[in-house]
């Protein structure tokens, strides 16, 4: 008789199960990631009550299913990865934009102020207010660089902190997944993992996907195995732990490693990918760019400043900001090569120009020091500087180069013009002078003699015996001069600009005109040595060639001036002089005879002019003089490298600062190029830095480079904001789709509730019916 009750019981208990599931769905309706569950009912196997006769035995709960689309779940995970990556990048790009502070608080307004003050300074270079104003804006610019550098470092620290905290989160999630894996085994579910544990797994996986890309394999036990970027993170037996590795090298990117192993972990997506991508963007992109800009600005401004001249006309003393380093550790810096003495700016093969100015007369003497990267040592450099008249040089205990001028002299490193280059007087000087054509080496043969007579006296015979020369077929001017001087009185041989020059010892004076007669010993000696023969006179009035202007050529050039005839400047009809470059190119033929007012400037090329004073010149005596157009006062870069007379100290954005010496004494600011105190020649070079194209910036100037950086950051921010919007929308759509399948609709659940409640009531009614049937039966029996 219990037959029917069994069936009713199955209906009641399955209805209860269904109601419980509905209750579960309703109570979890608002839980993130909850997947609605559904009770699947199945008819019980029929009972065989006779041959070929079976009746149903009710219903049973076959399973409680999660209603989920596994494709959607995977898509959601990968979308979470992308969204995570772009969201973190958007946040950092936003931080970066804030760090730059444009348009109101960035470097741009400071650049404007700096170059604006340069313009103001150029209109009145010697005005103390403008000089101080310029230095103050330079100081603000330097501060701007330093604070920007600090801000960018802060952004990078933010990225590194983000990596650290995300790695912590990933480790926590990995541990939780491993705990679940263990729980599945200890729970003994036998391959059928309860839906809520699956839900937990899904939530953890989705959380993990926010940080890294995730590949999931479910093993038959229901446990999860997870790998990312080909690296296994979780196996059923356990998980690995990630760690963050930073380097002491600020440019080296931050790396994620696997604890206890040397391998690194490179996720392909997720927040960590975003952070790992931006870390080098900051370190090698933004921070390095700002440093390169600062370094370029320091290099350019310092080069201009170090090769300029202050209003006073020069410097009395100077100390380099940086010292040479003792690289080989032998206790002395003097044996270090200048190019490899640990300086932050490069020293190239080139020339350093040192001008010594006599403050009383204003006359300038120039010395050029060749610097070779292969041979010039710190000691060489010091000795060469120290060897210049009226200046002393030494290297102090910190390896710094110190220069000091004698009382009454100043020095500078500009490309200023040497006003009176003919110090030797080889072009119309007061002494009677004869010069060779300068073609050396020459051969000296047995029997070579010259005769030299001074002031019409008896000719002195100078014998050039081959035995006096180590290599008689290869004799230079210095050796010849030495041999001649050993046999000559009243006149002296010397070497001027590579030519052999013989001049009377005494210059002309009122009532006295020296004369020099050069004769050939009858053997063709004079012709072979390139020396003229005949008589030439000195004068009591020297021509004293004057060079003026500022050389604007882009490479160094030596000019040779030669008279084309003999005569008096300003008087002899048709007297001309030619100017050629040292390699023979004709620059100009100048009329200096009748019609030329002595002292009038005649322009040559590249900004230079010459003027001839009154006096006598002679082509027959081989007279000439040379002068240099110097393009760059320091083409070796040694001044910038050592920080001699630097405008900016430091080498990058975080340590750029205005030289305190200049702030203390603005008159040291090198505004000119050797003109008067108001000369603004060097200020114009400062101004040129605004638009100077730099090879290191692909032909952009520092400012253009900066603007490009700002625009890059702006469009990065803009683009990443748009990407996040798109990705969020996509994420929302996917989420909607997931919800449409797996989400809980309360109304639907309520209807189901009604339904199962009715089913329960029906089952109960069935039991009641059975009971009534039984009652009736029992009453029959009674």
């Amino acid at each position: 008789m219990t037959f029917g009750y069994d069936t009713a019981l199955t209906a009641i208990s399955s209805a209860r199960t269904a109601l419980r599931t509905i209750g579960h769905n309703l109570t979890n309706a608002n839980r993130t990631g909850y997947t609605r569950q559904r009770v699947l009912l199945d008819a019980n196997a029929p009972a065989q009550i006779g041959p070929g006769l079976a009746i149903g035995t009710g219903v049973r709960v076959s399973s409680v299913d999660q209603i989920a689309d596994s494709y959607l779940t995977a898509r959601l995970r990968s979308q979470a990865q992308e969204l995570g990556r772009h969201t973190v990048q958007r946040d950092i790009f936003g931080d970066l934009e804030t760090a730059y502070g444009e348009p109101d608080n960035g470097l741009n307004p400071l650049f404007s102020g700096f170059f604006g003050s340069i313009d103001a300074l150029s209109t009145s270079a010697n005005d103390p207010a403008q000089r101080t104003g310029f230095l103050q804006t330079a100081k603000s610019l330097a501060q701007g660089f330093r604070s920007l550098s600090g801000n960018l470092a802060e952004v990078r620290r933010g990225i590194q902190d983000g990596i650290r905290s995300d790695v912590g989160n990933v480790n926590r999630i990995l541990t939780q997944i491993t705990e679940l894996n263990r729980a599945i085994i200890t729970g003994g579910f036998g391959g059928s993992v309860p839906p809520d544990i699956k839900d937990q797994q899904n939530v953890l996986l989705k959380d993990l996907a926010e940080f890294v890309d995730v590949a999931v394999t479910t093993v038959p036990t229901g446990q999860l195995a997870i790998s990312s970027a080909g690296q296994s993170l979780v196996t059923p037996s356990g998980n690995i732990t990630l760690e963050v590795r930073t380097s002491t090298n600020p440019q080296a990117p931050t790396v994620i490693g696997i604890a206890g192993a040397s391998a690194t972990f490179e996720p392909q997506s997720g927040r960590l990918r975003g952070l790992l991508d931006l870390d080098p963007t900051l370190a090698q992109g933004n921070i390095a760019s700002i440093n390169a800009m600062a370094k370029s600005l320091i290099g350019q401004m310092n080069h201009a400043h170090a090769t300029g001249v202050p209003p006073a006309g020069g410097y009395a003393s100077m100390t380099s900001a940086r010292g040479f380093s003792d690289r080989n550790g032998n206790g002395s810096v003097l044996d270090e090569r200048v190019s490899e003495a640990g300086l932050p700016f490069p020293v190239k093969d080139g020339t350093l120009t040192v001008n010594i100015r006599d403050t009383a007369t204003g006359d300038v003497r120039r010395t050029r020091i060749r610097i070779s990267t292969n041979t010039t040592t710190v000691g060489n450099l010091r000795d060469q500087l120290d060897g210049i008249d009226h200046v002393s040089a030494f290297v102090d205990a910190q390896g710094r180069l110190r220069l000091a001028a004698d009382q009454g002299y100043t020095f500078d490193f500009s490309n200023r013009t040497e006003p009176h280059p003919d110090a030797a007087g080889t072009l119309g000087g007061t002494r009677a002078t004869m010069a060779s054509n300068g073609v050396f080496p020459v051969s000296v043969l047995p029997g070579d003699t010259l005769t030299v007579a001074v002031d019409g006296g008896a000719p002195q015979t100078v014998t050039l015996s081959p035995s006096a020369f180590p290599d008689p077929s290869n004799v230079g001017p210095d050796a010849l001069a030495a041999v001649i001087n050993g046999q000559l009185t009243g006149a002296t041989a010397s070497v001027v600009s590579g030519r052999l020059v013989i001049a009377s010892n005494v210059g002309g004076a009122p009532g006295y005109t020296p004369a020099l007669t050069l004769g050939d010993g009858g053997t063709g000696t004079a012709a072979r040595l390139g020396l003229p023969t005949g008589t030439t006179a000195g004068s009591d009035m020297a021509v004293n060639l004057t060079v003026s202007g500022t050389y604007t050529g882009t490479s160094d050039r030596t000019f040779v001036v030669k008279p084309l005839g003999d005569g008096v400047i300003g008087q002899t009809a048709g007297l001309k002089a030619e100017v050629r470059t040292k390699d023979g190119r004709l620059v100009g033929v100048l009329d200096i005879g009748q019609g030329y007012a002595p002292g009038t400037s005649l322009s040559l090329e590249d900004g230079l002019s010459v003027s001839f004073g009154a006096g006598r010149v002679s082509a027959a005596a081989g007279q000439f003089t040379e002068f240099d157009g110097v393009a760059d006062g320091d083409s070796s870069g040694v001044l910038v490298a050592t920080g001699m007379n630097a405008l900016f100290l430091g080498t990058e954005a975080k340590d750029i600062a205005v030289n305190q010496e200049l702030l203390d004494d603005p008159t040291r600011l090198a505004t000119g190029l050797g003109g008067g105190p108001s000369d603004n020649g060097n200020v114009l070079r400062f101004a040129g830095v605004r638009e100077n194209p730099q090879d290191s910036f692909d032909g952009a100037s520092v400012i253009e480079r900066y603007e490009a950086l700002i625009l890059q950051s702006a469009s990065d921010t803009d683009r990443s904001m748009n990407t996040v919007d798109t990705q969020s929308a996509l994420m929302a759509e996917l989420e909607n789709r997931r919800q449409s399948i797996s989400g809980v609709n309360v109304d639907e659940e309520l209807l189901n509730l009604e339904n199962y409640q009715r089913a329960f009531e029906v089952a109960a009614r069935y039991v009641q019916a059975l009971a009534e049937v039984n009652e009736t039966l029992i009453n029959l029996v009674r």
Partner: protein
């Protein structure tokens, strides 16, 4: 969108709708409250890039504006000083004409000369005017006093120019530069070099060669040694006559050059005789005369010692004088080469004067006039000195003739002042025109900038009204949705 909508979907989409509407409204509100459309470059990268270009152009304009105002200040001051100089010139000219009309005596001319000295001083003050610490008339040497005076016992002796000839060009617009200053070398001088005139009784003449000295100058020919025979022979005694040089010969003789002749004639008494120089008056000498001065007709003098003269000597004795020339008041001297037709001598400012020494007969001063090269100062100084000349009528007449020529030089020289005055006026008016053009351009740029950077108020207000409506409806719909549920209808 699938058919099935879960409660969570409904909740989240209402929430997203409300927050989107809110953030749109917030953005509009920010734009309205700051008035700026681009607050950071990423708000509009293209716009931000154009803004940087416009800001650079505006910066350049403001630089030009600064340049124009600093040039204007200088040009204004220049015009003022030039006007004052022009007035002073008028005053000076009036005095000179008065002095040259021949009715004044030496005293009257001296008063006028002193007046000229005073006017010179005022002109010098104007010429050395500074504006904002910069000298107006020094060329690019704005830091050094352009005109330096050398004062002697007679007032200002010389005024030298220490500036240069450069006028500074200042950029005032793209590709346009304006002259910022007028160098004194062009303001105070306008003529072209013509001839050089020597005024002297020494026999010196302008030499062959192109001079570079300017204005008025003075050569001093000095005697150093008298010699029997040709110049430079340094023979202290004549071997034929036994004549020797007197002790004062070295210091007081004035004969220079070759071709001087002493004519010695014996006295019939046999003791002493007469001697004459270059056909000048006969001067008696005795056997004891050791230092007799003999003067020739041109004023050249030799001192002779007759004690060893051969008694009864009669004949011609050739003598010469060696000497030096200086153009800078004796600071530097050159030995005179009496065969040179073009000796070069250097003046105090380095200018060269060529001298024909072949005709020099005696020592003395040579007043040199480099016609066409006078500046206002040197011509006024020379006129003043001419007005001060006193002495015999011939000397005064010569000085007045000299002064008339110099007045012509002064008139020529001051044309530079008039020309600069006109030039400064046109620079000023051009600057004004440029300023208004730059202002127009600046307004245009500001307008363009504002279109990119600033908020279009009406546009944003309308947009914000719309957003408000959207926000309200989002709120309304959300609140309504929450109220609907099957629960309301289940018994």
């Amino acid at each position: 969108m699938s058919d099935r909508v879960s409660n969570d979907t409904q909740f989240r989409s209402s929430l997203a709708g409300i927050s989107r509407a809110w953030s749109d409204m917030y953005r509009s509100q920010l734009e309205l409250s700051t008035g700026r459309r681009i607050r950071k470059p990423s708000d509009d990268p293209t716009g931000a890039s154009r803004l940087m270009g416009i800001d650079r152009a505006k910066e350049r304009l403001s630089r030009y504006g600064l340049n124009i105002s600093s040039v204007s200040i200088g040009i204004e001051a220049t015009s003022r000083e030039l006007q004052a100089l022009s007035d002073l010139y008028g005053e000076a000219r009036q005095r000179v004409v008065q002095g040259l009309n021949g009715t004044l005596d030496a005293g009257g001319r001296r008063v006028l000369a002193d007046d000229l000295d005073r006017i010179l001083g005022q002109m010098l003050t104007s010429a050395n005017t500074q504006e904002s610490g910069q000298y107006l008339f020094g060329g690019s040497e704005t830091g050094t006093v352009p005109y330096v005076r050398t004062t002697g016992t007679d007032g200002i002796e010389r005024i030298s120019y220490r500036g240069d000839e450069r006028s500074m060009e200042v950029p005032v617009a793209d590709g346009v530069s304006e002259v910022a200053n007028f160098p004194g070398s062009r303001v105070f001088r306008a003529g072209q070099r013509t001839t050089t005139t020597f005024l002297s009784r020494t026999g010196a003449l302008p030499g062959v060669g192109t001079n570079s000295a300017t204005g008025a100058g003075r050569l001093i020919l000095s005697h150093t040694q008298t010699t029997f025979g040709a110049p430079g022979s340094r023979i202290p005694a004549d071997p034929l006559s036994g004549l020797r040089l007197g002790v004062s010969s070295a210091t007081l003789d004035t004969v220079l050059g070759a071709g001087h002749t002493l004519d010695v004639a014996p006295d019939p008494s046999g003791i002493g005789g007469t001697v004459s120089l270059n056909g000048g008056p006969d001067i008696p000498f005795g056997p004891t005369d050791a230092n007799l001065a003999v003067e020739g007709p041109d004023g050249s003098i030799v001192h002779l010692d007759f004690r060893s003269v051969l008694p009864g000597f009669s004949g011609l004795v050739p003598i010469s004088g060696d000497g030096t020339v200086s153009a800078d008041g004796g600071r530097t001297v050159r030995a005179i080469d009496f065969t040179a037709t073009g000796m070069q001598v250097r003046g105090p400012d380095g200018g060269i004067t060529h001298l024909d020494a072949t005709g020099i007969r005696r020592a003395g001063a040579v007043d040199v006039r480099h016609n066409g090269t006078f500046d206002v100062f040197s011509s006024l100084i020379a006129i003043r000195d001419a007005l001060r000349v006193e002495g015999d009528p011939a000397t005064v007449t010569a000085a007045m003739d000299h002064a008339r020529v110099l007045l012509g030089e002064l008139d020529t020289a001051q044309e530079g002042i008039q020309r600069s005055l006109a030039d400064s006026g046109s620079v000023a008016s051009r600057l004004e025109a440029t300023t208004s053009r730059l202002e127009d351009f600046d307004i245009l740029l500001s307008d363009r900038r504002s279109k990119i950077a600033d908020v279009d108020l009406s546009d944003v207000l309308v947009r914000m009204k719309e957003q408000e409506a959207v926000y309200q409806s989002a709120l309304y719909v959300s609140s309504r949705l929450g109220q609907l549920s099957l629960l309301n209808f289940l018994a």
